[in-house]
Symmetry: C2
Subunit: 540 residues, 2 copies
């Protein structure tokens, strides 16, 4: 199919002038996983500050026991394999332990001396039962790709890593239900499903490292929630271990099962504070036969909203992503990768629109009609459409490369928020104006702030406000917080859309949840984890 | 577009002989709500047996207080309006109270003498606080369309009906989020959304009577879960009142909000046992521009499975329902309505396939290809496709009319179960064989069982096994239960897919949940409702 022919027909039908930059439509197959890797963004040059230094008001809970050599012996005997225990208590294993103590953003660093990697639910159950009886605090950890310090210790909490719980148990082609261990890497699960013509109903930048158990326990949202919905809908069942070692076997593979309280929901998004997820059963959609992606430049946020409204109406059931990136974010990606922006001019806003469907011709016709309309109406100033898989990947990198581009600049204050659409981008404008007025923003090294950028999942009203700093700076932090949370609270937004609370947002939950809700949450935490050993100092 | 032309082109392409009965495709608009009404099925001829007689082992919980004249005075003063209190305690209001005491299936009947209809969350909060302090048991009730006796009292529990909590509060066109009171009737909500080009993401036979709060509190599944997913995914927020009067305000309208435990999930499907839902915020999809429905006859259950597999693969993102009806169920509808089956011959199985999409031409092309394929392959023996809205309604009545047709026969033992697809229909065959062998099934009045029928939501592995009896019969019941539950347990199915537990399934939860899960559920019930006043004698 010739792209020119397709687009000229579309234009003739609508009797509108040809746009400045031709959009060349072509259908591409579903791409293999993108190349983004979390580990590549870690800079090894500078020591990471201990969380206990960054948060001097945090004190170790004195009711927790200290790990002894006897404890280590117990765990070594229990878990058997040498690779299952990284012991910095009785040996000097600092280098081996460090990757488990600190996060990839290099923002949080704990003091643990023990990492455990159980290989079965039974092992994990015994580990937790022992820890609970001994009052040894623990931190559940998956791929350690979190953004709020939820997956690394603060003091000497034992890290329980799920990397060795990594089996895919079953996939049923008729129902699309996958059953897999918590430690399976998201990309591995998706590749497995790709070979079976299905799709994991979640996709995010860290897919090459993150664990599906971590995704579920943090209720990850990602790039295609717009299309495939939340994990609260797609996770059909799960198995988890409570702090006292009780195995919660709620691993139903049924789409419908109304037999009592849906307790599994409590583990989705509870960030390892009431138990550790060991297995999940998840409903996976058929892999789309055709996927297209387009990338636009737009002159204003009002036009971005107009484009989204049209995409929702016209692309409807095939719309699988609508992402927003501001001009500054795209410049940073260009500087970081050395790639030239696919559009000629410069625009204050860019959007990425993806469709996924079962019929390439139909999808292309819908997309053409949409493109024709938004260009004809002057909603979009310029745009390109991927012509093959390489271009598909390359366009997606303009969206997915932002996190990595920012990580090269120094530190980043990351705010992942939900705001009703009309004011979504206003937060970035207001924040930039505030920090500029306070004299923090500038191009040379005397200014702490390099850039204030905004991007995110427009389709979910989910904005990522990122403030790139030359180094983490208390004064800048004070200028942003709690101002940013107050701003969001006034609009009934959420101070954490998809990243969770962890340590970073724990203090601020009151901006998005009322006192009654917080009280009920604490009551629930007390019910399941009376000794408070699960991921302490964080969440609520 | 001419239906004949379309289909003959399709046939020519596939080089297959013309089928016996031409399928005439045409696109119809989304229909207005169907005519099914729950109240019309109630037979007024015979007295309904008290539940306390049917379940002689149930005893009134002696810790509950008895309602006094002072209680009635308190409620009358609190709720103000005369229509808010139906008082059978100090007056003889038996006739007014009876509809609240018994269910529409005429299977359950309680002894309540007091019905309260609060008009605001604040009123409901005061009602519950008072009841909790006085230890007066209550039954939350919506449209009273339940199938498991969950919405009517057993003894003298006060009925708290949500009929006067019936305001639609807001709808946001950009996000598709509807905020409405619990007592809004599903059909009213859907009509409101239809005028705004959106759709309530749930549809079921009782839509003309059921309340959306009841739908959420029972986690209703219905006809289009296959397409729009479970309420655990689409309900974004809710407001509820706990037994002690605490108002749980979790009425977020955000698609993404990861700030703490998702407590609202506990109210979805908890059948009014830990609180009463007062408002919901729900994500509603755009109303499809084109909807088509086809109806087939098939020679075997293997062919039904093959047809479903093809529908899933070929109709993919536009498939919105795949319903299964056995031959006997369709004969009953024919007898009950006097309508002739749209197909010439008689078949052991029938399927209804619905598509919903944004482009009528594309949808029709996909549907034609699908029809061509399944007829060409001999999967389907005969079929028709709705040509206009009247036909659309009429075809759907062959599915939705089953419940009503059965209700004319006397009593019905209803089993709503999830079973993995390969054995889904086997349960009906096995049940029929068992009851026939035991001498229960026959055409004349000497046999207690008139018919064993199976139908349901094939797309969700959800079967409705219905055993129509001339009158409820303990011997038949003993022949079915626990045999049917054991059968399901062996296949890791669910003994209640979408109808819930209520009183009918309370005893049998152990067939679908293990002891640990039941223990955890009881623990949760104890946490939120320590006096046990909420919907007692039911659920877990």
């Amino acid at each position: 199919m010739s792209s020119t022919r397709h687009f000229s027909i579309a234009l003739r039908r609508a009797r509108i002038p040809r746009p400045r930059c031709a959009i060349t439509p072509i259908t591409v197959r579903v791409p293999s996983a993108r190349a983004f890797s979390v580990s590549s963004t870690v800079q090894a040059t500078k020591e990471i500050k201990y969380t206990t230094n960054a948060y001097p008001d945090l004190h170790r809970n004195p009711t927790f026991a200290e790990i002894t050599a006897q404890d280590v012996t117990f765990f070594k005997e229990l878990l058997g394999s040498q690779s299952a225990v990284i012991d910095g208590v009785t040996t000097d294993a600092t280098d081996d332990i460090e990757p488990f103590n600190s996060d990839w953003m290099r923002k949080y660093r704990g003091h643990t001396k023990l990492v455990l990697k159980p290989q079965s639910t039974a092992e994990l159950s015994k580990v937790l039962q022992y820890c609970n009886e001994r009052k040894l605090a623990v931190v559940p950890q998956g791929g350690n790709t979190g953004l709020v310090g939820g997956g690394v210790p603060v003091f000497d909490e034992i890290v329980i890593n799920t990397a060795r719980l990594n089996k895919i148990h079953s996939f049923d082609d008729a129902s699309g239900v996958l059953v897999a261990d918590a430690g399976v890497i998201l990309e591995v699960a998706d590749q497995y499903l790709a070979e079976r013509n299905h799709l994991f109903p979640l996709d995010l930048g860290a897919k090459g490292s993150c664990h599906i158990g971590g995704n579920v326990s943090t209720n990850a949202g990602g790039l295609r929630l717009l299309r495939y919905g939340s994990l609260h809908g797609s996770v059909l069942g799960l198995e988890a271990v409570l702090p006292d070692g009780t195995v919660v076997d709620s691993l139903s593979t049924l789409r419908k099962n109304n037999t009592g309280y849906d307790l599994k929901q409590l583990f989705i998004g509870s960030e390892g504070t009431i138990g550790i997820i060991t297995k999940i059963a998840i409903q996976c959609p058929s892999r789309p036969k055709a996927v297209n992606v387009a990338y636009f430049g737009l002159e204003s946020y009002d036009q971005v909203r107009a484009a989204f409204k049209e995409a929702k109406g016209q692309l409807s059931e095939i719309l699988s992503a609508f992402e927003l990136m501001d001009g500054r974010s795209q410049k940073l990606v260009s500087e970081s990768t050395g790639n030239k922006c696919p559009l000629e001019g410069e625009y204050p806003f860019y959007c990425l629109v993806e469709t996924s469907g079962s019929n390439a011709e139909h999808d292309m016709e819908k997309l053409e009609t949409f493109l024709e309309h938004i260009m004809g109406e002057g909603i979009v100033a310029d745009g390109v459409l991927a012509q093959d898989e390489t271009q598909f990947q390359s366009i997606w990198r303009w969206r997915e490369g932002i996190t990595e581009a920012l990580s090269h600049l120094g530190g980043t204050y990351k705010y992942d928020v939900s705001i009703p659409l009309p004011e979504l981008y206003q937060l970035v404008e207001d924040c930039k104006a505030r920090l500029t007025k306070m004299g923090f923003v500038g191009d040379d090294d005397s200014f702490p702030v390099r850039a204030v950028v905004g991007y995110g999942h427009m389709g979910d009203s989910n904005l990522h406000l990122n403030i790139a700093v030359r180094q983490y700076n208390k004064e800048v932090e004070k200028a942003i917080e709690p101002w940013v949370y107050e701003w969001i609270q006034k609009r009934n937004g959420s101070i954490s859309a998809e990243h969770g609370l962890g340590l970073a947002k724990k203090e601020f939950i009151g901006y998005s949840q009322n006192d009654t809700m917080v009280k009920l949450m604490k009551q629930l935490k007390g019910l399941y984890d009376p000794n408070g050993i699960m991921n302490p100092y964080k969440y609520i």
